[in-house]
Symmetry: C2
Subunit: 467 residues, 2 copies
Amino acid sequence: MPRRIVIIGCGVSGTTAAFQARKTDRTAKIVLLGDETLPEYSRCGLPYAFSHIVPSLEALIGYDEAFYEQMNRIDLRLGLKATRINTEKRSIEATRSKDNSIETLGYDTLVLTTGARPSTVPIPGSDLKGVFTIRTMNDVERLTNHLVENNAKRVAIVGAGLTGSEMAEALLQRGMAVLEAEIVPEILPVILDPDMASIIRARAEEHGVDYHLNSTLEEIVGRNGRVSGIRISGENYPVDAVIVAVRVKPNTELAREAGIVLGESGGIKTDERMATSAANVYAAGDCIETYDRITRRHIFFQLATTAVRQALVAGINAAGGNAEYPGSTGVTTVKLFGLEVASFGPTTTVSEKLGLHPVSVRVTGSTRLPYYPGGKDLTVKLLADPKDGRLLGAQLVGEEGATLRANLASMAGHLGLSVEEFEQIETCYSPPLAPVWDPVTIAAQALLRKLQTSQAAKSRPVTTVEN
Amino acid sequence: MPRRIVIIGCGVSGTTAAFQARKTDRTAKIVLLGDETLPEYSRCGLPYAFSHIVPSLEALIGYDEAFYEQMNRIDLRLGLKATRINTEKRSIEATRSKDNSIETLGYDTLVLTTGARPSTVPIPGSDLKGVFTIRTMNDVERLTNHLVENNAKRVAIVGAGLTGSEMAEALLQRGMAVLEAEIVPEILPVILDPDMASIIRARAEEHGVDYHLNSTLEEIVGRNGRVSGIRISGENYPVDAVIVAVRVKPNTELAREAGIVLGESGGIKTDERMATSAANVYAAGDCIETYDRITRRHIFFQLATTAVRQALVAGINAAGGNAEYPGSTGVTTVKLFGLEVASFGPTTTVSEKLGLHPVSVRVTGSTRLPYYPGGKDLTVKLLADPKDGRLLGAQLVGEEGATLRANLASMAGHLGLSVEEFEQIETCYSPPLAPVWDPVTIAAQALLRKLQTSQAAKSRPVTTVEN
């Protein structure tokens, strides 16, 4: 009898797991459940479809339904929401959104790719018309309609992380005025130290973003059931819509109710084979906690890149193969207001909280030699653990070249290289393409000197005074 | 008494060694000899100054003389050619080009950064007016003058390596017709396999380069002592100038005559500290042979990036410090006709000659997801050693992103990673910047499958037939 593989959730993780399961087991019966009515689409692309850089929302859809069913014999069930897992009986229950009918599906192996959902804010007015989160295509459609119908001119964004920042730029591109409120003192606090984030903030302010940092969101103000303003730290600002982009929470209810163990982070706990605590149940993507190779803890990364690699492993193993996911450095990139912004590893604040007390340097170099036209400034911050000299993190901001250089530094982090080992990695040069000494190398050299100085200071012998 | 450091050769190696020696020993007396009359300038920039992308030849000069003398107390002696080293007496003799007077300089440590020089071709006509090599600023000035004075319209280039290819593009940009002759069947044979190089050749041909591959250069034809044509494989082609760009040879005469050991490659032999066989004599840059970490032999790299790293080490050690150079992967990049071309490691042909019998794949991916505008094709070829699965080389060609991705692959090569280990390195993604699965990762995945298949084929047990 063919193996029955059920996959719950048809975002990029579920889809990847399904295709990989098919490659691993040509005869398995594979069922892929999605509670939305659309097949997988790129959530990361939503801000760009909103701003019309991508011509339509539909362009974000990865594959049409025929590709699943006819080309890969994947039984794609859309509009079907899993509501219960019975790990004893190896079955799940699911509710059809069309008619609320309930269906039971048996499995030999199950993959949970239930994703995550955005948080809302527990303040007065958060249920008004005109308050949005940005997670689904439907969210963006509703936002767009609201802005058009109300002839909107001003939008407030709550949260200045990745999604909030991308939406700020997209809204400006659509001619809106943008106010962005953030509870902490600087934007992009998860991926950057404040000294690096301030470079992007300065650029965003030039483009017109009105930031309210260190601020307390007190109320979303309404008129006739519809957003008319926002009160931040005691001040009222008139706005036509509010986008809440504060934090994404893993969808773990289904797993938890089935007795599947969650980690301290709140995500589903898995081993390296992406196996959960329940026999024959695997999990991957935004619903799980991921092993962070740098800080050696399990945390909640919200990255498509970790999701697809985990899903690949889960799909192989659910189909009878054997693969392992080694964990991630959390390497991330985003383009904001003409700047590439990329990083891996914990920020200085997080490092300090973990007792790592990093040594760091910040260097601004150029992506070309001075004589060659078109070189761009690239600011690189590197963090190291002074105990063992290991590279802990990199943060890069510049008009070009940050993304791919973050990969290079992140590879060093992945492998646990010391700054000294990383500094020895040669990079290639040609006048139109790259400088002789890469800005990342220059930063590594500076960090190495700083580490050696701090090491020398520590190992200096205590002078005993003799009489 | 202060340490006396003498450095022979003031290209980028000599200059780097001098500055690093100064940083290492604040009181040393540092003498830097250059046989040209100009301080260090970027040789790699010459084609771009010729084509006027860089506004002038002078723009290529790294630092003015005051920066050496006043800022760094380096005694820069230009137009002074070292002619003899006496390693017993620790002294050198040098001839002043101005008046042929001879000077003797004593040293405590000596650094040889004598560089390399282009080869000429041993055929009739190679001494005609209008035959050039491209190594010095003076070469480019003479070429430019010749083209202008003779109202030149057609130029032949002998050799389709890096310099020949860069000059072909530069000549086209100056409105010349370009014929390029190469003895082997495909262009860029040192850094690329023919299947990769043909992508660039097709593009160059669209731009108008007239290639003569697999060809024999028989004669440079002259009229009134001046180039009027070139005979290749029995055919005559009228040209107004010939650029010979076939091979760069290390300048080792000075070292050899002093009894300093050369390696099999013909370059000066050094250890990891860049020490030569003579006591207190170091060497770096184009005049030495470099440890190739991939093929584990000493070969002759012609890269500014290896030169400066070696020179840094030589400068530190010559000044009493202690540093080591770990060898190189030979990672190289060049921009040709709008394409980034980058590689590290031996080509398939060289690998075969070394008995490595590599397994390889070639993959064309995109630098963006399909839905995001502006993504460019990137073709990636990866080579692995089937014996141990080690990544042996990478070759990348595309309109963007080849250079920095070559660094990533080269880092794997530097560290001796297997394809399996390299494939696990996560890369970052954002719609405007990079795809979820990087083309390099996709190539690594394909290569891993191919390695596993070939491994499985080998380990399959021999079937014994039973009756």
